[in-house]
Symmetry: C2
Subunit: 151 residues, 2 copies
């Protein structure tokens, strides 16, 4: 069966899930954030099936996350660049990085987040912009304002 789509749900978490909570997509985004913009670079870095990468990139294009940009006339060559919307996913990937770093490792991970200029380590933290307090599942919660399931 085809999987259930969440892209029309009335919940931001559901729509974001529909977009990036599938196999490979977050890692494709990681590669793009790491500066790899070409198809073959990503295939090589991730050891991903070309068919799957094609499908994922097309999905990201359809959603307005990346766009195809021609960087060579002859031969015709394209690279994939983030749109503004795509760059807005960086905080989400960052939060995933932080969780993984804090809870999924004993040893030190080999993928780090660093300041682009100084090279200093960066530690993502999710706060409430109103109060400045770190997000805490005891202090904040999901409220469903419509009775709709999923949505």
């Amino acid at each position: 069966m085809r999987r259930t789509r969440f892209d029309d749900a009335y919940c931001p978490i559901a729509r974001t899930t529909d977009l990036l909570a599938d196999w490979w997509t977050p890692l494709v985004l990681r590669e793009l954030f790491a500066g790899r913009r070409r198809f073959e670079q990503i295939v090589e870095a991730l050891d991903i099936s070309r068919a799957v990468l094609t499908q994922r990139l097309n999905r990201l294009i359809d959603e307005g996350i990346v766009e195809k940009h021609q960087y060579s006339e002859r031969p015709v060559r394209w690279e994939y660049r983030f749109t503004e919307k795509g760059r807005a996913l960086w905080p989400v990937l960052s939060a995933m990085w932080r969780f993984g770093e804090d809870w999924m490792f004993g040893e030190a991970p080999s993928v780090e987040l660093v300041d682009a200029e100084t090279g200093a380590a960066v530690r993502p933290l999710v706060i409430d912009a109103e109060t400045g307090r770190p997000m805490d599942s005891f202090r904040s919660r999901v409220r469903l304002s419509r009775p709709t399931p999923v949505d």
Copy 2:
């Protein structure tokens, strides 16, 4: 073919992806964060296949995200509660909520994040804990310190 596993990757994003970037898992977590702790409640709220919910909850138990807690002797009844590690996923879900809210909606979403006590709206923001600056894909980036692909 079975899908490629990322749980032994040396990248925090990859390990977190392995954990929650699959179909349904983020929505199951959303329901748990919204206060639904029982199997039947989640089935009803999400309209999810029982088989899939069973598989997802068992995975979350194996990973130490939730634990099964008996709340009734006769009849034997269980509910699913977050561990400390599970509550640490709240910032990740929050960041997903914020992205969805900012970029995936024209109208207002029906799922909101509120302060548990005051009921005031909460706006998650991902910052660098060192500098206090919002995470920005121009100012920070992924650095791969080992040559390993994926990992």
